[in-house]
Symmetry: C2
Subunit: 190 residues, 2 copies
DNA sequence: GTCTATAGCTCGATAGAC
DNA sequence: GTCTATCGAGCTATAGAC
């Protein structure tokens, strides 16, 4: 289906180039579809991007839920999420858009990023709260602060990987986050 | 001086809009200078941006060095850096450019981000190594991983603040990072 | 549904007078 | 050093035939 080819091209280009840099021309070249098809299936570049971001948000949310979905101990679920393989040079498909004016200034587009990040922070916060309740983490921890930090380690790691063109930076960041968190868990065990 | 007004306008717009969204027209409007002046003082938009980024890199580097410059214990220097006041909605003046294709694909422009981030990671790594040597942190810590994580907490916090339009997210992230790090330090003291 | 042609605009940059 | 006029290209989008 032509519509799907256009959507797939947009998803790819949003990752590679971002929203502002992605022109309808680029989408046509990437998908093989003509201009008539593009504007037949989507009213505007923004509407195309919104549809693509819906897909991307769904895929990333599902991936995150899978990492947290296993029935094991909450800290191990967090570990699984943090240690997922990531291509630092490509960046997060949603996080990389968080600094584009055209995305932030448009409530429709920003809503996709907003929802995804709040979902992941929620998953992290629930697991942290469960670990604390089970006695695997000290009672004094601030769940919201730690959940935000853990997601920030991923997103910030991507920023550093891209800025320094060092694919391993994101892995160092998440490994550092896990080292600190598991250090806190070990403290309780004693 | 007109040149300085143009430079100041560019620095402001790079922060507000980023490089790709900042047009020569915008710089003219913001600075009050005419097109003739702009292209008299700077050969191109890219050269203007490079000069502006030099300034910004210098200012941010100095600010970071100041946070680490006090003569106190290394962990307290890290705390000072992490707990600096930050406007989450505005983002990091350099980090916010790390996802722009036009910046990443140009070695000249990316070099400014690269140098700044490596400098801050170096400051963090030195302080962490000193703390470990002094017995304030366990011997087993990986200095590079932790230094990367701490900077990622700032950069990732900015991403989350902007994506969710929640100015406090960056503060939660850095507070979470400090909570984990100081937890590790407390462990050694026992 | 898809094509080609074209609109109206802004982009980054240059020319040449003053 | 600064001005105004203008360039060629690419942008997002629409028109209208097939």
């Amino acid at each position: 289906m032509t519509r799907q080819a256009i959507l797939d091209a947009a998803k790819k280009l949003l990752w590679l180039q971002g929203f502002e840099s992605m022109s309808p021309r680029d989408v046509m070249d990437e998908s093989g579809a003509g201009q008539g098809s593009l504007y037949h299936h989507f009213r505007s570049k923004k509407e195309l991007a919104a549809a693509a971001l819906d897909d991307i948000e769904g895929e990333l949310t599902e991936k995150a839920r899978n990492a947290f979905g296993s029935g094991r101990a909450p800290l191990l679920r967090i570990r699984t999420y943090l240690m997922q393989a990531r291509d630092g040079l490509k960046g997060c498909r949603l996080g990389r858009l968080a600094n584009e004016r055209a995305v932030l200034d448009d409530g429709e587009l920003r809503a996709r990023l907003d929802r995804y990040f709040r979902t992941v922070i929620g998953l992290l916060a629930d697991a942290l709260a469960e670990a604390r309740r089970d006695g695997a983490l000290p009672k004094r921890i601030n769940v919201d602060d730690l959940a935000t930090l853990l997601l920030a380690s991923v997103q910030g790691g991507f920023v550093l990987s891209r800025a320094t063109q060092d694919a391993a930076a994101v892995t160092r960041a998440t490994r550092g986050a896990w080292a600190l968190l598991s250090g806190l868990a070990a403290e309780v065990k004693k």
